[in-house]
Symmetry: C2
Subunit: 237 residues, 2 copies
DNA sequence: TCACATTTGTCCGTATGTATC
DNA sequence: AGATACATACGGACAAATGTG
């Protein structure tokens, strides 16, 4: 019987701004509005929906935070359809972490398991372009290191590229969320770490070689060792 | 050099409602405000922050959508700190799916890999209470089936309980997101499916037995078979 | 460089809906 | 049933930002 409940109308009537938000979202889902498209100004939207400007603004807030559009101020500004969904999900994930809903222990453990799967998919599906991106990443990291700076951004980006190589958007999304937390970490503890960044980069290089050689065993071994090392570093701080 | 950028102030001055939102969020992170606590009314908040009510309202919109509080209307109503983070992340994940950012193919493939890890952790960490919940779930599903109804809700809930048994909140969160999509699916195609729900319930029973016996091989085998079956069913529709 | 137009950002006053006592 | 306290919503006004000529 429970599943039949879905047939009835929602008991609690939606608020005005929620209806406006849903309506605009529907247009985006249906492809009527596409990334890059500019929406009418708040005043015009209010006229079109026959509501006050406040309701329109609150609807836009929801869509903005959900990752469907950006809002620019000034002339030629206004709401623009823009896809930042993965980014926003990463933000919420980071919130959950800060809210103590997720421990560093849980994060790193789950990461090891998930990233092993990602690696296997990457070995299977990475194309020439992916390999080039990964190689470029390592080259840039080494260049940064030679200048005497830790290559934190490049190190994090390596895992993003790895997820992209898996050709699976769920993996990419989960990885994006995990990296949002790690970025937050490294952005705060940014002294010391040159040596560690160097070690990390070397590990990444080994992983890349395993992908090129399609060596699952070696790849998994190095990755697991690498992530356990990262885990130890993080827990120390 | 890139990492040093984080030291500077944000270039773009935050908007008023964003600052208010951050401030309240900070109080929640720091534990000053806890779930169940009631915040002052909009009017009072506006007075306290020395801003207009509209700014407060938009700040509350952000916090509401982010899963930090609920807002109740009427006397004795107002903003109440309430943790619905996982729920909201699931919603955004569902959005990403509807927005065609994620294919059913990607979802089911990733799910198989992730849930295999979840199962191994569950076998390791499930306590007596978890086993009881899982058993109850299957009993309830069977009861529903005997009444001639498909046990969709119970079937989905089984996987939630499985993730809970893993004792890892990241797994739980990822599972919650995946199930949000599946719930949306089954809520729309709710005719036919009694036989399938019966098969699914039997599979769940086998998985539970494998957990009780701590049999990793058998558990992984049944789970993989089960999820592949689910995948076939979903892709058919 | 400067003035102008457009659009978001913000505040205020007021009215209505809604839930609790 | 009526009073109360709150969110919800409308309209008008001005400030701030920003692209354009």
């Amino acid at each position: 019987m429970a599943h039949a409940l879905q047939l009835f109308k929602p008991i609690r009537g939606k608020r005005t701004f929620e209806e406006i938000s849903s309506e605009i979202k529907r247009l985006i889902f249906d492809g009527v509005l596409k990334p890059g498209d500019k929406l009418p100004s708040e005043i015009e939207l209010a006229r079109m929906f026959a509501v006050g400007r406040q309701s329109v603004r609150e609807a836009l807030r929801l869509l903005e935070l959900s990752g469907f559009l950006n809002i620019r101020r000034g002339v030629k500004g206004g709401p623009v359809v823009e896809d930042t969904l993965f980014n926003k999900i990463g933000n919420l994930f980071l919130n959950a972490f800060k809210f103590k809903k997720i421990s560093l222990e849980d994060l790193t453990k789950a990461r090891i398991e998930i990233e092993k799967s990602v690696l296997l998919y990457a070995i299977e599906n990475a194309d020439a372009e992916d390999l080039k991106s990964l190689k470029d990443n390592i080259r840039k990291a080494k260049s940064t290191l030679r200048k005497g700076n830790p290559a934190f951004e490049e190190n994090i980006d390596f895992h993003r590229l790895l997820a992209r190589s898996s050709k699976n958007h769920v993996f990419l999304l989960v990885m994006e969320s995990i990296l949002a937390v790690l970025s937050d970490f490294t952005s705060r503890v940014n002294d010391v770490g040159l040596d560690r960044s160097r070690e990390v980069t070397l590990c990444h290089e080994k992983i890349l070689r395993a992908i090129q050689a399609k060596d699952r065993e070696e790849g998994t071994r190095v990755l697991e060792e690498h992530l356990n090392e990262v885990r130890r570093i993080l827990v120390e701080d």
